[in-house]
């Protein structure tokens, strides 16, 4: 039987069967976090590295986790931060400007794009033109149907700003799809 978030947190914090509780946490959230990261980073191996980092940081940072917080949004927040940090680091390593959309197409993603159908390929390319944080907002809303209030907890931004960000992202994508 799957443990509830409260049970997982309580067991880890009190040191009762910590290893099993942490394993339960990983098994409960691994797929959701994997796809959240993968949609941002695209490459599986990079996603695997980032996801492992997310869980290691979760383990190390558990002492800082406030019990009144939501475990789900806390994990998403770490995953989003790690993904954005990873993308920016990669860009710096490759000496490519942060705003240069061509980075994404040079970073081992061209093969993946060729597998998509034409319209999906266009959508993926359109997504890659968005700034990382806006892309994260788009993914959480469009693909994961996350509520704005939850997204607000994840990215630490007001609901109004997130709605505006999503609205603008959608318009940018639409324009890209029409023009290309």
């Amino acid at each position: 039987m799957q443990l509830s978030d409260d049970e997982i947190v309580a067991q880890i914090k009190t040191g009762q069967d910590t290893n099993n509780a942490f394993r339960a946490l990983i098994e409960k959230y691994q797929e959701r976090l994997y796809w959240h990261i993968r949609r941002m980073i695209i490459d599986h191996d990079d996603t695997d590295d980032v996801l492992q980092n997310v869980f290691v940081k979760t383990w190390k940072g558990f002492a800082n986790f406030r019990e009144d917080s939501n475990l789900y949004t806390w994990l998403y927040r770490i995953a989003t931060n790690e993904s954005i940090t990873f993308i920016n680091k990669k860009k710096k390593e490759n000496n490519i400007s942060i705003d240069d959309e061509s980075y994404h197409l040079h970073a081992g993603q061209a093969d993946y794009l060729m597998d998509c159908e034409e319209i999906q390929e266009k959508l993926e390319k359109a997504l890659l033109t968005l700034p990382e944080k806006q892309r994260a907002v788009f993914h959480m809303k469009y693909y994961e149907d996350m509520k704005y209030t939850q997204m607000s907890e994840v990215v630490g931004t007001s609901v109004g700003a997130l709605k505006a960000s999503y609205h603008i992202a959608v318009k940018k994508i639409e324009t890209y799809l029409i023009e290309n």
Binding site: N19, F22, R23, I26, E27, E31, Y34, W35, R39, I42, H44, D48, L51, Q52, F55, V56, K57, W59, K60, G61, N64, R66, W74, R77, I78, T80, N81, T85, Y112, D115, C116, E117, I119, Q120, L123, E124, P131, K133, Q134, Y142, Y143, K147, Y148, T149, V154, V155, G156, T157, G160, A161, K163, A164, S165, H167, I168, V170, K171, E174, L177, I178
Partner: protein, 184 residues
């Protein structure tokens, strides 16, 4: 999300992005087979390697033991004042000497004599100098570690999110009525 909000959001998407609205939400990405069944074990191994059991409990003791190994000379205050006076006097004398030597156009000689200084140090003076140098390195390392750890505070995450709006985009967004209807 309740039904009403869901409908409003769909309506908005259809209105502002009909092409996107008409597309299927397809996931073309695939995770390798068996990936999720092994992930918990992989993470466990990484955690065990990065943070060995009892590491933090013993860390403070190890650092303190190392510090205690260093020979710390305790100098009485009176003696320290005398030492300071002698040091100042020696410095003044050195300045006059260098000035005199420079006036005599003996720069090469000055450089040569200062080069000999290291050769004239005793082995205990040299080892003392090395210890201070090592201590500096240790302090720099600790500072760097603290700075590094502060780089990504997990709790505060992306409060400074950059939403990359242009003023035109904001105007356009505010002029649309859809966002006003959504309840949270």
């Amino acid at each position: 999300m309740n039904k009403k909000n869901e409908n409003i959001e769909k309506e908005e998407l259809m209105k502002i992005a009909p092409t996107l609205f008409g597309m299927k939400k397809v996931n073309n990405l695939k995770a390798p087979k068996g990936y999720f069944s092994n992930l918990a074990d992989t993470v466990k191994v990484r955690i065990d390697n990065e943070v060995p059991n009892g590491y933090f409990e013993n860390l403070a003791d190890k650092v303190l033991a190392k510090i205690q190994k260093e020979e710390i000379k305790v100098i009485p205050i009176q003696k320290r004042n005398i030492t300071r006076i002698i040091s100042v006097a020696a410095s003044i004398a050195a300045i006059f000497t260098i000035g005199f030597l420079l006036n005599q156009n003996n720069i090469e000689e000055v450089i040569a004599s200062s080069g000999n200084y290291l050769e004239n140090l005793t082995s205990s003076e040299l080892s003392e100098a090395m210890d201070y140098h090592e201590m500096d390195e240790l302090i720099c390392y600790v500072d760097f570690e603290e700075e590094f750890n502060e780089e990504l505070p997990i709790e505060n995450s992306i409060n400074d999110i950059d939403l990359d709006f242009t003023s035109d985009e904001i105007d356009e967004y505010l002029s649309s009525d859809y966002y006003l209807d959504i309840e949270f």
